[in-house]
Amino acid sequence: MLHLKLKIEKRLERFKCENFLISVVSLIISLVIMGIFIWINTGNFADVVETYKELFTWPFFPELGLVDTILKMIPLALIALGLLVVFKMKVWNIGAEGQLYLGAMATTWGALFLFKNMSNSISMITLLLIFGAIAGALWALIPAILKAFLKLDEIVTTLMLNYIAVYWLNYLIYGPWKDPKGFNFPLTAVFPKNSWLPELGDTGIHIGIIITFILVFVTYFIMYKTHLGFELKIIGDNPKAARYSGISIEKNLIIAMIFSGALAGLAGSIQVLGVQHRLQHGFSTGYGYTAIIVAWLARLNPFSAVIVAFLFGGLLVGGEQLQIVMRFPISMISALQGLILFSLLASEAIFKYRIKITKNDPIKIGGEFNGNT
């Protein structure tokens, strides 16, 4: 009698490029599942092919959607850079969206009221960007303090603060800040020209991209070259060991959250100064949430984060294109994003294990597998 037994066990060793492989595999899985959905939905397999063709070509060709893709990449990358710093210490800041809103609001306040008569463009822009970053940082500081001193769960507090930020912004653009010449639309007046971010030549891409690339290196340096980054890594891996090593978890939590909030606030600032030149309803298409997926797909690596942000920018642009060409609802793209995150988390868990087929040894343990021959 031969008994074969399936055994699931933890893999002890990791293989090369495992992280990259997990990311790619989960992307493919989610695209396949999405394909099945589209197929069921339209009943026509050709539509699936058409959809993916559109999704993978439009956003990435210069004459088509490339500029848009890059413009969407900038906020995604900036926010993701901030997030990966806090995620490293296993603090889950879900509030980047709110921090982005605060950055945009503070910048608008500065551009329309405080510094509207400033004549020097460079100092005005610098001031406004700093303003946005500070506002985002302060918004992130609230949950950080609540967690550090009252042990309140940051997932709940950051998420709740998002709603406050959204309604606050709505109040401003429907109320006191509404453009009197705006035909009653929920938007502010256009910012003075002096505050607009300059373009790189006539590419249509503003200098936010340079700021983003600089911050990639800054983030990399903080994460991998400073003691601060090392401390975050220790806390993330074993908070008890961190305490044993004399590392203040509270202090690092506050620093990391301020950094994360500042980058999200900066993203909001850049978005209104570089793209819309005014504050308007729905100015963010959930960048703060999408960036969570970006940071995670990038495995908390700053350089990968830019690449993933570019791909996700493409996904957003492609989604807009699909609305026009295929008449898909925008929720299709949100669904795809969700699928990617889910398959990513699932693959990560699955990759930790392997299935081993063994011949059953003579001593039967339990009775989990009763094979007959």
Binding site: K10, L228, F230, D237, N238, Y244, I363, G366, G367
Partner: protein, 499 residues
């Protein structure tokens, strides 16, 4: 006939750690059979196997002579095995009765007949003098009452075999005594009781038989007539094997550490160190002998700066360091080797090099990776740590090598005071010898060492002076000579000796 027989139970954990090695255990109806052993001896592992939480690799379980296959706690309950857990699993907002029937299938499919349940619980509570109101909400109950609810739950399930996993850890002496009376009654009603503890006095009070477990193996079993605290203490912590380590006489210098009337609480907010005083000088190893859970851990953590001092003073070269930060103590040169190398002393996913670097005397703002790697290579060689390379995550190292990483890191701080807790747990003989020699070398170089060992032989092998700790106080001091073992055994059991 035995109510329960465990035959040749063997359990190996991932990483090839042998937790239980051919363990045999049996239980008669109407008997209290105690499993005695240090933390990590395998008591809880064995009981978790019986209760279906773990699966054993080898061996069999027989209940009333029949071989059974226990795959989950639910199946353990259907076989008549009940366990009163160390950590309670009650829903605070539910009533006692609701908690007791939670997860039981006998209560009817749709409608729960709570009135009958309440009646039955009342009967059981009266039978064992427990005085529990079945309709009280659990959040209103005290710790000992919550434990009674756990016991009632097991009784309600009509368990024949009842496991008590360190039940007195959360109780006052009076509460413990009433628990023992309830246990006596259960015994007289024909239940088989397995009692787990490492407190000798209560073990002798409650048991009919005691089996001592050490490092996953049975050391021996004593019957009621032969139970003796001293003998049990020696069985628990003794080792048959003696090292021959060359130790020159100590040459104590200036006083390094002075602890005065220290009072510290444990994690459960109960006093663990109760007015303890001690001093250690340069070039001296003070060994602390005692049964686990008498305040050793709390003493070590409070000196290392990880635990708040409630009262008393800690002085380092006459400088008051009571309740100062860990960072400050690192800077002063206080090294600490905690007992749980995986939970506290290392970051499992960080590399060997990084783990050698997590505790630093002087903080550097910018990391010098190259120097860190070069340094690690040096240390790996110096301490003969076996690792693929310095970039390997430390979790893949064996226990002994992990411990060497921790020791290397702490010794390289060139400390003036080293606190070492259970430094050789789970290590093989060579690794043990290495640890002992490193400690003696550090002493010869002028360090003061506080050694908190779980093992009498360890204390005797390395220390220059031995202090015996019992219930958070020093019971007395002895010279580390083999002839003193009996004396130490008595003091470990809380018997004060006349001078």
């Amino acid at each position: 006939m035995y109510l329960l027989e465990l035959k040749n139970i063997t359990k190996r954990f991932p990483g090839n750690l042998l937790a239980l090695d051919n363990v045999n255990f049996n239980l008669k109806p109407g008997e209290v059979h105690t499993l005695l052993g240090e933390n990590g001896a395998g008591k809880t592992t064995l009981m978790n196997i019986l209760f279906g939480l773990y699966k054993h690799d080898k061996g069999e379980i027989l209940i009333e002579g029949k071989k059974v296959n226990i795959t989950s706690p639910a199946s353990a309950i259907t076989h008549g095995v009940g366990m009163v857990q160390q950590h309670f699993t009650l829903v605070p907002s539910f009533s006692v009765a609701e908690n007791i029937i939670l997860g039981l299938k006998k209560t009817g499919r749709f409608k729960i007949d709570l009135r009958n349940v309440v009646k039955r619980i009342k009967e059981l509570s009266d039978l064992y003098n427990m005085n529990i109101d079945p309709n009280a909400k659990v959040w209103q109950l005290s710790v000992s009452e919550k434990q009674k609810v756990e016991i009632l739950k097991v009784l309600y399930e009509e368990a024949k075999i009842i496991i008590f996993d360190e039940p007195t850890a959360v109780l006052t002496p009076q509460e413990s005594e009433s628990l023992f009376q309830a246990i006596d009654m259960m015994k007289n009603n024909g239940k088989g009781i397995i009692f787990i503890s490492h407190k000798l006095k209560e073990v002798i009070r409650v048991s009919d038989r005691v089996t001592v477990l050490k490092n996953g193996r049975i050391v021996g079993t004593l019957d009621k007539g032969n139970l003796d605290e001293n003998e049990l203490a020696k069985m628990m912590v003794g080792r048959d094997f003696l090292f021959n380590i060359k130790k020159t006489p100590a040459n104590p210098g200036k006083e390094v550490l002075k602890v005065e009337n220290l009072v510290v609480k444990n994690d459960k907010d109960i006093l663990a160190v109760k007015g303890l005083s001690l001093t250690i000088r340069e070039g001296e190893i003070l060994g602390i002998a005692g049964v686990t859970g008498n305040g050793q851990r709390e003493l070590a953590e409070s000196i290392a700066g990880l635990r708040k001092v409630e009262n008393g003073k800690i002085k380092f070269y006459n400088l008051d360091i009571t309740n100062t930060s860990v960072k400050r103590r690192l800077k002063l040169g206080i090294a600490y080797v905690p007992q749980d190398r995986k939970e506290t002393a290392t970051c499992p996913n960080l590399s060997v090099a990084e783990n050698l670097f997590i505790r630093q005397k002087n903080k550097v703002r910018i990391l010098n990776k190259k120097e860190m790697l070069r340094n690690s290579k040096k240390l790996i060689k110096k301490y003969s740590i076996i690792a693929n390379n310095e970039k390997q995550p430390i979790k893949f190292l064996s226990g002994g090598n992990m411990q060497k990483v921790v020791l290397a890191r702490e010794f390289e701080l060139s400390p003036k005071l080293i606190i070492v807790e259970h430094p050789t747990r789970g290590l093989d003989v060579q690794a043990m010898e290495f640890v002992y020699n490193s400690l003696i070398d550090a002493r010869n170089n002028g360090a003061a060492i506080l050694l908190l060992a779980g093992d009498l032989d360890e204390v005797f092998t390395v220390s220059d002076r031995v202090a015996i700790i019992f219930e958070g106080r020093i019971m007395g001091y002895v010279e580390p000579e083999q002839s003193k073992v009996d004396e130490v055994g008595l003091m470990m059991a809380g018997v004060a000796l006349e001078a």
